[in-house]
């Protein structure tokens, strides 16, 4: 197998040069289910539409919230966001946005407040199939000030008031009739899916000019774009799901660049870099995909905090990061990415300390050793089951390392993996793992982890098994902090709340943090301007800045 790999590497090294420089072909591994900006949430759709549409606000590469479609970010300080008292005496917010004056749909129709009102109608209608209805439902009224300016009135105070509630415009002049004719069937009748190449659906630097389902999407410059003129005259986004084939296509010149958002895995990227550093610059960006191990707190062994802490002391996560991931995936010190402004170093630390782990296990009653495994007073072994997604090579490798490291402190780990579909669709959702489950969470900058830490989010019949607090973590202070963080507008005060929440998390350890995943961006040396962000914002949000040199 190694010889075959070596032969393949040799052949790959003889690759053909890249394609013409005014055209760019990007390889990704997923095709979007729909092109409607609000229906369904898929990374591939977000990647493509970020080149053709622009959100009101976005997080830049430094994770700072900025305006994109709006002219100025509304804040309490600049007076464009104001607290207001609602009829029931509660506090709400009024937030005013102005749309970029030059923003125009590709058919020449200006982007106006009418398009914002239409997007609101679609979002709040329960029949349309918009996944996350919360932001639309909290908007109680929209005051139209003029064609480009509007004020949102929301019935809730939220620290992310200038980004959470605002929704991006939809082309009322093209799509309103499809919606009003039959809201329940709008997701099937929308022009984004029935007439995808209509220029009037896009106002970004590019528009979708051709779609071959399952194969590729072609983007061409949008003549009505008001910002920096994009360099490439044609951008093809080609979908190749098999990553080995994706790599071969890159080397044959069939594609120019593999997007990190939907491309090779980290180990593939590292191997690729070793072989082709002369032609490609591989950029790694660790972000918001948080690999961790959920502990089932109903397990009698794991109920004891000392055992949970011993398990983390018994792991040499730094070595795992260095040896398996060339240090590209930083060790997680809590659920917060080190790139997020709320990250803090002032937290309980768990360096590799097998001595400390042993003391904690001794204190927890697991002091006797029998055949290399700790036992309690009743002679029961310290045996735990570790589960993850079968077939995920990286996770399965990590699992073996964890098993061997824990064996050194006398913990017997039994591995039982399941296909991803069964693991996430059934085992996690029904809390069917007996002890430990290794997987990843995806979040966004300063994301309030209500769905994974709130006691109300423990899957149960009451919430129709939809909560994601699979560990069963219940902590009254954490619940209260989650509520307080959401409504605290003062950054400094909010930081203190975040810090306390992370302290509780790292002290109680309902979860064993492992590392933040990094995506490799395989960029040809002639292509410049791609700036991986590490958060959910696609790099294509700055596609007009990409250049060939």
């Amino acid at each position: 197998m190694r010889r075959l790999a070596a032969a393949i590497l040799f052949l790959l090294a003889l690759a053909a040069p890249a394609a013409a420089k005014d055209e760019l072909v990007i390889g990704i591994t997923q095709f979007p289910a729909t092109f409607h900006p609000m229906i369904d949430a898929m990374l591939a759709k977000s990647y493509i539409l970020s080149a053709a549409l622009r959100p009101f606000t976005y997080y830049d590469k430094d994770w700072k919230l900025r305006c994109m479609l709006c002219t100025e970010l509304p804040t309490i300080e600049n007076g464009k966001a104001k607290l207001e008292t609602l009829a029931d005496g509660k506090k709400g917010l009024a937030v005013t946005y102005t749309i970029q004056p030059g923003a125009t749909w590709g058919d020449g129709t200006p982007v106006t407040t009418d398009d914002v009102l239409f997007a609101w109608d679609v979002g709040k209608n329960p029949k349309t199939g918009v996944p996350e209805a919360d932001p639309y439902l909290h908007v109680t009224k929209i005051d139209v000030i003029d064609k480009k300016t509007f004020t949102l009135h929301v019935d809730k105070v939220h620290f992310e008031y200038n980004a959470y509630f605002v929704f991006d415009p939809l082309p009322a002049h093209l799509d309103r009739k499809n919606f009003e004719a039959d809201p329940a069937n709008y997701r099937r009748r929308t022009a984004y899916d029935t007439d995808t190449t209509n220029p009037g659906l896009y106002y970004g630097p590019y528009r979708i000019a051709q779609v071959v389902p399952g194969s590729h999407v072609v983007l061409e410059p949008n003549p009505t774009w008001y910002g920096t003129k994009p360099y490439f005259k044609r951008v093809t986004i080609r979908v190749i799901e098999n990553t080995a084939a994706l790599e071969a296509n890159l080397l044959s010149g069939n594609i120019d660049y593999i997007a990190g958002e939907l491309g090779l895995s980290l180990d593939q990227g590292l191997t690729f870099e070793q072989r082709h550093a002369d032609r490609f610059a591989v950029q790694y960006k660790a972000g918001l995909v948080y690999e961790h191990i959920d502990l089932n707190l109903d397990n009698p062994i794991l109920k004891d905090k000392r055992v949970r802490q011993a398990l983390l002391y018994g792991l040499d996560r730094e070595t795992i990061s260095k040896q398996l991931f060339a240090g590209k995936q930083p060790v997680a010190q809590s659920f917060v990415s080190p790139l997020d402004w709320i990250a803090t170093s002032n937290l309980p630390k768990y360096p590799y300390d097998p001595g400390r782990a042993a003391s904690l296990l001794d204190a927890a009653g697991w002091s006797e050793m029998k055949n290399g495994v700790r036992v309690d007073a009743a002679g029961e072994p310290l045996r735990l089951e570790l589960m993850t997604t079968a077939g995920n090579r990286t996770r399965e490798t990590v699992e073996l390392v964890l098993q061997s490291q824990w064996k050194k402190i006398g913990v017997d780990i039994r591995i039982r993996n399941e296909p991803a579909r069964v693991f996430s669709g059934q085992t996690l959702r029904q809390r069917g793992f007996s002890a430990m489950a290794m997987y990843a969470w995806i979040s966004s900058p300063e994301n309030v982890p209500r769905s994974i830490l709130s006691s109300n989010s423990i899957p149960s019949a009451a919430n129709n098994q939809t909560g994601q607090n699979f560990t069963g973590f219940k902590n009254a202070e954490a619940d209260s902090l989650l509520d307080k963080i959401e409504v605290q507008l003062d950054r400094q005060k909010r930081f203190a709340l975040w810090q306390r929440l992370q302290e509780i998390y790292m002290d109680e350890l309902p979860v064993l943090p492992l590392y933040f995943r990094a995506d490799p961006f395989i960029i040809p040396k002639w292509l410049t301007g791609i700036e991986p962000t590490g958060h959910s914002g696609s790099t294509t949000l700055a596609i007009e800045n990409w250049r060939a040199q």
């Binding site: 075959l4 393949i8 052949l11 790959l12 003889l14 690759a15 053909a16 289910a33 729909t34 229906i39 369904d40 949430a41 898929m42 990374l43 029949k127 199939g129 996944p131 996350e132 209805a133 919360d134 099937r188 899916d193 051709q210 071959v212 389902p213 399952g214 194969s215 590729h216 072609v218 080609r238 979908v239 190749i240 799901e241 098999n242 080995a244 084939a245 071969a248 296509n249 080397l251 044959s252 010149g253 069939n254 579909r421 069964v422 996430s424 669709g425 059934q426 959702r429 969470w441 995806i442 979040s443 966004s444 994301n447 982890p449 769905s451 994974i452 129709n464 939809t466 909560g467 994601q468």
Partner: protein
């Protein structure tokens, strides 16, 4: 003959109805649903969102009720929407089927064009040098993993030599020859991988035919070796090959998952696989039923082909005997 055809049509309808129920049930028994997949991708989704979405997609109803609704619509010609593509199922299937047909029929023809002559050549001198080489070639092609062979072809002809595209679909403005270039590597992959089996079947059938008394008689009458092979043995040996080829015909249109994935060709194999994995009931069902229908048609064609290849077989006689 009309009675035979009618009987086969009724049998086919029963098989299709049973298949639809079994496939729908099996997909329904898989853990998780599309909304679970959405929740995994978006931690901000609330339980209210999940309930609303399940109701919209009809996933809150019992499986049997959903199947009944689907079957009623299907009988009226409405095969529903694909949840994964947000388009009518038939609109998705059409281009995929055309892609698959182009790929698979070409590969099928190539496999037969290579396999049958190789099988005949091996049988003509069974045990000789040519037979050994052909057998070796056949075993290599049968044993060779499709993804590996595809990757090697890509590396040689696309990466190293740069003669052919590594995969994907031709651009919309591509002409006939440019479109053909995109077909070459996947067709060669499938054709070569399949031809070994045909060569083995053909060889065995020919050896069996060449042992028959009437072959000895033909030789005794002074027929040339080529005439004995082609006119006397081949026609009889084609009956088992027709059966195998007919069975293969149905699978042609259900696509080739690995080849389509390796060459990034949007075809039926990948479509059906993805539809099953994403719980896209309508798409998976229609895709699988279509493949079943074509297998049934393939079998019917094989039955009819027997009457051409062997005049002793007659369905009219069968009906009369009844």
């Amino acid at each position: 003959m009309p009675g035979f055809l009618t009987r086969r049509a009724v049998q086919s309808l029963i098989v299709l109805a049973l298949m639809s129920f079994v496939v729908y049930g099996l997909i329904g028994l898989m853990p998780g649903d599309p909304i679970d997949l959405m929740i995994n991708a978006n931690p901000k989704l609330t339980s209210a969102d999940a309930e609303r979405l399940r109701a919209i997609y009809g996933l809150d109803r019992p499986l049997i009720e959903r199947y009944a609704a689907w079957a009623t619509d299907a009988l009226q010609g409405d095969f529903g929407y694909s949840r994964s593509y947000n388009r009518p199922v038939l609109e998705i299937l059409g281009p995929r089927l055309a892609n698959t047909a182009g790929l698979m029929v070409s590969a099928f023809v190539l496999a037969l064009a290579l396999g049958i002559p190789l099988g005949i050549a091996a049988a003509a001198k069974a045990g000789g040098g040519a037979d050994i080489v052909i057998n070796l070639f056949s075993f290599v092609t049968i044993s060779m993993p499709t993804f590996w062979f595809a990757l090697i072809l890509i590396l040689v002809f696309a990466v190293t030599l740069g003669w052919l595209p590594a995969g994907g679909s031709p651009p919309a403005e591509a002409g006939f020859f440019e479109t053909l270039r995109y077909l070459v590597l996947p067709v060669v992959t499938l054709g070569v991988v399949e031809c070994g089996a045909y060569a083995r079947f053909m060889r065995a059938a020919m050896i069996e035919a060449l042992r028959q008394d009437w072959i000895r008689t033909a030789r005794a009458k002074g027929a040339s070796p080529v005439r004995v092979l082609v006119r006397h043995a081949l026609r009889n040996a084609m009956i088992p090959i027709a059966t195998i080829a007919a069975l293969e015909f149905g699978t042609l249109f259900s696509g080739a998952l690995i080849t389509e994935t390796m060459f990034a060709r949007p075809g039926m194999g990948k479509l059906i696989f993805d539809a099953i994995m994403s719980n896209d009931y309508n798409l998976a069902l229609i895709g699988l039923l279509f493949a079943t229908l074509l297998t049934l048609i393939g079998n019917l064609i094989a039955d009819l082909a027997y009457t051409v290849l062997d005049p002793r077989i007659s369905y009219t006689d069968l009906e009369r005997d009844r």
